[in-house]
């Protein structure tokens, strides 16, 4: 009785698709996610039914990010590429230098208070330009909160889509970036060249 085969992968994939569809119909799919390969590595994209809630770099550890989403948003998470097809396509266009902004609904559920205000301002910094942390602090009505702006950028749950990479130091040096400084450099160079 040791020869019973494991159910085959294609069968399980079909059942998974069917489950995703049924869960969506029943309103039980709280979080959909997929990954997408980009020039700066594999990104994890996650969305609630309100919009994109998380973009994560590979270096953050995608399993860890999913665990965090389970704790903070909902454990009803399924791999559902379809709900994120539009963002995946727009990211392709962005990295090809053919898109200046993202046109998808955003869910800011992971950010509150001042950090949420900072993200709201970052969203309107134009493509190809930068602002200093101090300028962002002024723009959000709290000129002394330069360090807090830095923290808000460093904890941005929606990097690239909410362009925290467009915030640099007053002296023009890069400052920090969750995805690594080389990634920040790559994004700024991409936008400068387009």
């Amino acid at each position: 009785m040791t020869n019973i085969e494991a159910p085959n992968t294609a069968d399980l994939d079909r059942l998974h698709d069917r489950l995703v569809h049924a869960a969506d119909e029943a309103g039980l799919l709280d979080l959909a996610y997929r990954t997408v390969d980009t020039p700066i590595g594999r990104l994890l994209l996650a969305a609630t039914d309100r919009g994109v809630v998380r973009v994560a770099f590979e270096t953050e550890g995608h399993d860890r990010v999913l665990g965090d989403l389970a704790a903070r948003v909902s454990p009803r998470i399924l791999n559902t590429p379809k709900r994120l097809d539009t963002l995946a396509r727009e990211l392709d266009e962005y990295f090809a230098g053919q898109r200046l902004g993202f046109d998808v609904p955003i869910d800011f559920a992971l950010s509150r208070g001042f950090r949420r205000d900072v993200l709201g301002h970052l969203a309107v910094i134009p493509y190809g330009t930068t602002e200093s942390y101090a300028q962002v602090a002024v723009a959000t009505g709290n000129p002394r909160a330069v360090r807090a702006v830095g923290t808000a950028c460093a904890t941005n749950p929606l990097p690239i889509v909410i362009p925290c990479h467009r915030v640099v130091r007053t002296d023009g040096s890069l400052g920090g970036y969750l995805g690594g400084l080389h990634v920040k450099r790559t994004l700024l160079d991409l936008e400068a060249a387009a």
């Binding site: 009785m1 085969e5 159910p7 069968d11 998974h16 489950l19 454990p75 009803r76 399924l78």
Partner: protein, 160 residues
């Protein structure tokens, strides 16, 4: 909590095996889907120390019983399976004959074999699911496996 996607990936094959051990291949897929949809709904309220596999198997068993009840006139596939149109196992499953043999076992033996040997639940937990004592579950599983060994040895290419 563990993201539900990982629960599906980790336990999906086991739940399908359990469903296939007690249902036709087609019905097993329906029961699998019903099981995970129902589990997804209840999952956020599940206790942190819950045995996820035992929980899923309990749901799968309930769903399987639902299916069996709706198929009351043809409760379980047993006996001869027509050539070319087997509902037991999938066409590319090399060991489809094993599923046919499992399908031919008496009801309690089949479940005790499935839950203990396929799922790996201890006999005490199998007893809690199928009813009766731990000893009875152990005996039914052992009898089932012995019957399978005997039956498997009689089919071409089968070695016990």
């Amino acid at each position: 909590m563990t993201p539900f996607e990982l629960i599906v990936r980790e336990h999906g094959p086991t739940v399908l095996r359990v469903c296939r051990a007690v249902l036709t291949a087609h019905d097993a897929k329906d029961a699998w889907s019903e099981t995970f949809l129902s589990a997804l709904q209840a999952y956020p309220r599940l206790g942190a120390d819950a045995n996820i596999e035992a929980w899923l198997v309990t749901i799968a068993k309930r769903k399987a019983i639902d299916v069996i009840r709706t198929r009351a006139r043809t409760p379980v596939p047993v006996g001869d399976v027509p050539d070319g149109a087997s509902e037991l196992g999938i066409p590319d499953d090399e060991r489809g004959e094993v599923w046919a043999l499992i399908g031919a076992l008496p009801d309690k033996q089949r479940k005790c074999v499935a839950y203990h040997y396929l799922v790996g639940l201890p006999h005490s937990e199998v007893a809690a699911i199928v009813g009766g004592t731990t000893d009875a579950a152990r005996r039914a599983a052992a009898d089932g496996v012995a019957a399978l060994r005997r039956a498997y040895a009689t089919i071409p290419g089968g070695t016990a």
